[in-house]
Symmetry: C2
Subunit: 365 residues, 2 copies
């Protein structure tokens, strides 16, 4: 009984074999299906929990469990350390995901989830944008140009015929390096990438994605301005109590659609709103897209806090590709003795005489 | 940046190099220290949570997080599937543990925790017995002869000069195979292992350890009888809402000491008691053993639900041995690009011309 280990090299090999565009398309399709079929009696996604601290650096280690009843459980472990890029040259988010067989509790898969998290966060925004944004979206705005901005742009580029991308980051080096990263994954060179002020981005874009590391309490990241009537925002960065990115007035005049209501009220943009002022969850909109079609013409916000369901679906997708391609390393991880009642089997130092001590055992009469 | 992978073979190699007796002694010492120094402002152990289900089989997948502030976090994942031994030849408990660096969120260690769980559960009972049981304990009773009984006996044998061990299991094959497992790990052959009825065991033992898979609601596993005045019970099996092993009357006349009060009230023997009727937690008794010395002469129960602190300490011990012995496999698990802002770095299919598309980027004026 082995655990399939998927390291960064295996994840990379899957991405290279399948292709990033195809992988993103599959992710969008899989998430659309998962949102559309979501049934809270069959898929359990408890609100994530974690350790948050200020020392040794401000950070968070959290766990995101999910279970499809009768089938499989997964748990994603996430480190969020905003000082990583500047202090250590590491991504803000480091992540691992584990999947479990419900018949035995066996750990079936252990995989890097850093790449998967970026991919699914882009794909989730695509699911929301496909039902809430204007279909003829041409201008995309990106507030925050770090790792998550890459997959947001990629996902949007799979959905829309983009003409220009307006970008902004408070870190000018990150902003300046963004275009190379965008064209690097295959953004058509016809799409112009232009740095702009946050208010300009909010005013001129059809769709805006926000993915900053703004500190809790320091938001919003942009002042409110008159926007296009049909503006759709994918609010990605808000995922922590006190951390919000958007102006409250923008939220108040928009249909705000959370990925996962209870979590969004706790740590998303929704935390500044009265629960009664929230729109339906995204899964409801996906299931009944025709009913919500008219909202494409007005202001909408997808409050993407990052839902364990998305990770649960994505690791299934990734592991299926890995198995098909023969990638990953099967590891005999768990200590499973021949005799399930003997945890010490083969654990003792070999005896000199190879003979067990006789002992004195008196069985039941 | 790599993750140290400790498989069952690595854990076995640690056990064989260090020796089971030495490892158990170190575990008891480390847990005694951890209980004695426990400070809830410095070590966080949220009550564990999990998925519990009846299909496809009755089972539980749960997570047990712990953090020593400023130092490290760990999370143990546990599968509990009582049908495993009979249906699959697998242990009831399968488990894995992960540790995280708080400066970066990096996954430092991933290890089997099946062995570690059995070991620490024995060691925790030894910590409790060392302060609550009669020092001249000679007769040990074991109710339940599965995997956990092996390490309970081992731990007790490190603490006391045992003369006889009275055993009982509802599964006669498990009961009949126990002595071979006990002498197999090195129980002195002078110690007699004798099968007996549960009431006889409760009546005649100085210390009793209970570790059964009794179904929730089906307890107690033994009827109350007059016991030795100084009886100490390590109640190990009760770790689930509704699952209790001991007669209520025995609990009511004993000093009941939980490992972790809030968890014990939820899923331990303590769930049948009024919170006001609980004794102090074990960490308090370890810190102030002289004050509680008199309780050795009267009836005491250690309600061992399994505390994340114990796993947190044990993986540190195990990983230190592995590093010292050069065991374990360093794995580049997490996708860490050279540019922390580019999750797609090296993920794209290699271009034919090796030249990135030029694109059109307009920087800020």
């Amino acid at each position: 009984m082995k655990t399939l280990l998927l390291t960064r090299e295996d994840v990379r090999a899957v991405a290279q074999h399948v292709g990033l565009d195809e992988l993103m398309d599959e992710a969008i399709e899989a998430l659309t299906l998962a949102f559309g079929q979501f049934d809270r009696s069959q898929t359990l996604t408890p609100v994530r929990s974690g350790f948050q601290y200020e020392l040794p650096v401000p950070g968070l280690v959290e766990w995101m469990p999910a279970m499809s009843a009768g089938r499989a459980a997964s748990i994603k472990l996430v480190g969020y350390h905003p000082t990583n890029p500047a202090n250590r040259g590491l991504p803000t988010v480091l992540s691992t995901i584990l999947t479990f067989d419900l018949e035995t509790g066996h750990l079936t898969t252990l995989s890097d989830a850093t790449f998967l998290t970026a991919l699914r966060t882009g794909a989730a925004s695509a699911v929301a944008s496909s039902v809430l944004a204007a279909s003829d979206t041409r201008t995309l705005g990106l507030l925050g140009c770090g790792a998550q901005a890459v997959t947001q742009l990629h996902a949007m580029s799979r959905l829309f015929d983009l003409e220009r991308v307006l970008i902004h980051d408070t870190d000018t080096r990150v902003e300046a390096s963004f275009a190379a990263r965008a064209y690097g994954f295959g953004l058509p060179s016809a799409v112009a990438v232009t740095a702009a002020a946050p208010q300009t981005i909010l005013a001129e874009s059809d769709v805006v994605c926000t993915q900053t590391s703004v500190a809790p309490g320091a938001g919003p990241i942009v002042a409110d301005v008159p926007t296009r009537a049909h503006l759709h925002v994918n609010a990605v960065g808000s995922d922590f109590p006190g951390k919000t990115e958007l102006p409250r007035t923008l939220l108040e005049r928009s249909l705000v659609v959370p990925d996962f209501r209870s979590q969004a009220l706790h740590e998303g943009e929704c935390q500044v709103l009265d629960p009664a002022d929230l729109g339906p969850d995204l899964d409801e909109i996906v299931r009944d897209a025709v009913r919500y079609e008219s909202h494409r013409a007005s202001s909408t916000v997808f409050d993407s806090t990052g839902w364990a369901l998305e990770d649960h679906v994505m690791i299934e997708l990734l592991a299926a590709h890995a198995r098909r391609l023969g990638l990953g390393q099967p590891v005999a991880l768990e200590a499973i003795p021949e005799d399930p009642a003997n945890p010490y089997e083969a654990m003792a130092q070999p005896r000199a005489d190879d003979e067990p001590a006789p002992g004195r055992y008196v069985a039941r009469a």
